[in-house]
Amino acid sequence: MGDVAIRVEGLGKRYKIGQRTGYQRMTEKLTQLLASPLRKKESSDNPAFFWALKDVSFEVKKGEVLGIIGRNGAGKSTLLKILSRITSMTVGAADIFGRIGSLLEVGTGFHPELTGRENIFLNGAILGMKRPEIRAKFDEIVAFAEIEKFLDTPVKHYSSGMYMRLAFAVAAHLEPEILVVDEVLAVGDAAFQTKCLGRMSEVAQSGRTVLFVSHNMGAIGTLCSHAVWLDSGAVRRLGHPETIVAEYLLSNRNETGQRHWDGGIANPGVTELKILSVSFLAENGTPTATVDGRKAFYVEIVAHLLQPLPNSRIGFQLTTLDGTPLWEAYSVDDKTIPSPSSPGIYSLRCQVPSHLLMPGQFLLNVNAGAPGYKNYFYREGILSLHVEDTYGSLAFPEIRRSGPVFPNFRWSIKES
């Protein structure tokens, strides 16, 4: 028993429909009371309730890094909120062995009017650090955030990069035995994300127990030792991160080879660019999830630029099911045509050459951003691609060849 860090048993959390989206009006409550004063207040099969988590059980051993994956609304954040005591569960139990610290947002409690120095102390205290502890780590935090010159400037005058660095620096110096982290890496520029991930893996390797929610499947794969897949509030799979990630990504696949978003989607908070649709197109231009490896096909991304975006690029990555990238291709690669930079709706088509991919399953990641400055859109596993086994000419068709690519090799063989 001594090596357990977190034990969760039969955890369930019930919300009233609409409870999380808004407060009530007193009059509504009164009307309810008057209308049916005798009705029992909470019956669990009442349709006005839904279970955000139901019967979730798992155990995390000391030193493990557990990745929690699942779609939006699967209950990931609710689980973290319960474990960090932000809210209470409806049924079940959770035991935590060790001091726990949680980081559900970077910069919680930062006040724009306060200076960098003041915010370090306030934020540190909010995260649960004591004054002497903050003082001891103060220089380290300032150095990590690279804001020495602006320590006594109100943070409202900071650039967003400086703000994020400072906020993360305070959080990164929190040293609990068990760390609970929610998607904090989804913000900031690429350099910042690299820094965050670096710090996260340091924490993970220092023997601390970490619970980590992310939509970044690459990060889950590299940082975590175990993974839990939550689906509609319940544990769907539990185990090795790479296996779980692969299964999860496959479950998201879309058989039409095309995804379309009304109004477009982008990273949270991004207003500069929206992705309207992503498709695989066969040689003749029709959307398809299955291609013939002997023929060329297209990846098409329709993007809406809402403002001038010089130095930005839009592109994609094709990966194997375990997330290993085959390549990254961007709109700026072809020097013969300009990459979109002024406002408008663009349809970008990239031809993938014939005779390139080994028959099997692949996943598409889409990425749009200004390198080194800001990422507008990044999503892994948007579409899955099935390359049909049409290489009838394979010498030994019964044996699966290894590797993800299968170019049309030319051999010359001479008998001598």
């Binding site: 028993m1 001594g2 090596d3 034990r7 919300y15 409870q19 999380r20 407060y23 009530q24 009006r25 007193m26 009059t27 409550k29 909120k81 319960i82 474990l83 960090s84 005591r85 932000i86 809210t87 209470s88 569960m89 409806t90 049924v91 079940g92 139990a93 959770a94 035991d95 935590i96 062995f97 060790g98 001091r99 726990i100 610290g101 949680s102 559900l104 947002e105 919680t108 409690g109 006040h111 009017e113 306060l114 003041e118 102390f121 306030l122 205290a125 909010i126 995260l127 649960g128 650090m129 004591k130 004054r131 502890e133 109100p154 929190l174 040293e175 609990p176 035995e177």
Partner: protein, 291 residues
Amino acid sequence: MSQSITPDNAAGAAATDDLPTLRLRPRSGWQGLDLSELWHYRDLLFFLAARDIKVRYKQTFLGVAWALLQPLTAMIIFSIFLGILVKVPSDPGIPYPIFVLCGLLPWQLFSQSLTQASNSLIENERLITKIYFPRLLIPFASILAGLLDFAIALVLFAFLMLYFHVPLRPTILLLPLLVAFVVMTALAVGLWLSALNAQYRDFRYALPFIVQVWFYASPVVYPNSIIPVQWQILYGLNPMAGVIEAFRWALLGNTHPAWPLLAASAAAVVVLFVGGLLYFRKMEATMADWV
């Protein structure tokens, strides 16, 4: 190695491997107070209060002057309209301006603290939904900021005492106790209203109305002596009645302490405060879900 970040309760301090540091269970119904946890988070209380104070004075153009202007303006207006024109009586031998200011000081401390405390949970929604700490700290911290304004307004009062030649009495030493009484009253009501306010936004709109009615129900602009004797105890159930009267007695001195009034007020505060604490604690567990 690492510093403690959640309260070291009995199990955690001993760091035994078999007992959990934290046992999380469904929480419903009435909860007691966890004083050791509150003590553990005392730094946060300080930083939250410091934030409120700094932000308030940084954002306003007049800054500290507001703390003087508010009671000064109110005093002048009441002195002209009520003291001179309507001829509202003051306590015997006390000029109306200093009489009314002596009521305004505790009143403004109360109304400001009450308003801050009642809105505190909503204003700190981001914190509540993103991190754990005892939620009680929020209304408590919001009240500390009002004390600074009170201290500044006290300077104004000292000038008036000099101007009207009101002698300093030893009873002034009771001032901290009286201030504590006012703060506790504001907290008692503030705990109720903040928790209710977070759940039902109606209270946000009702609050200014409540404060206004309460103002007229308290002896701020008129002396307690105009209330008939047989109604004094009932009147005292408004805790501000007892404590404003006690302020006048302690600072101006021309009345006798109104013990039955004060006793009724003290009893009312204790009941309100304990009830407020219990109600707040009951709502605390799931506050993040509906704030």
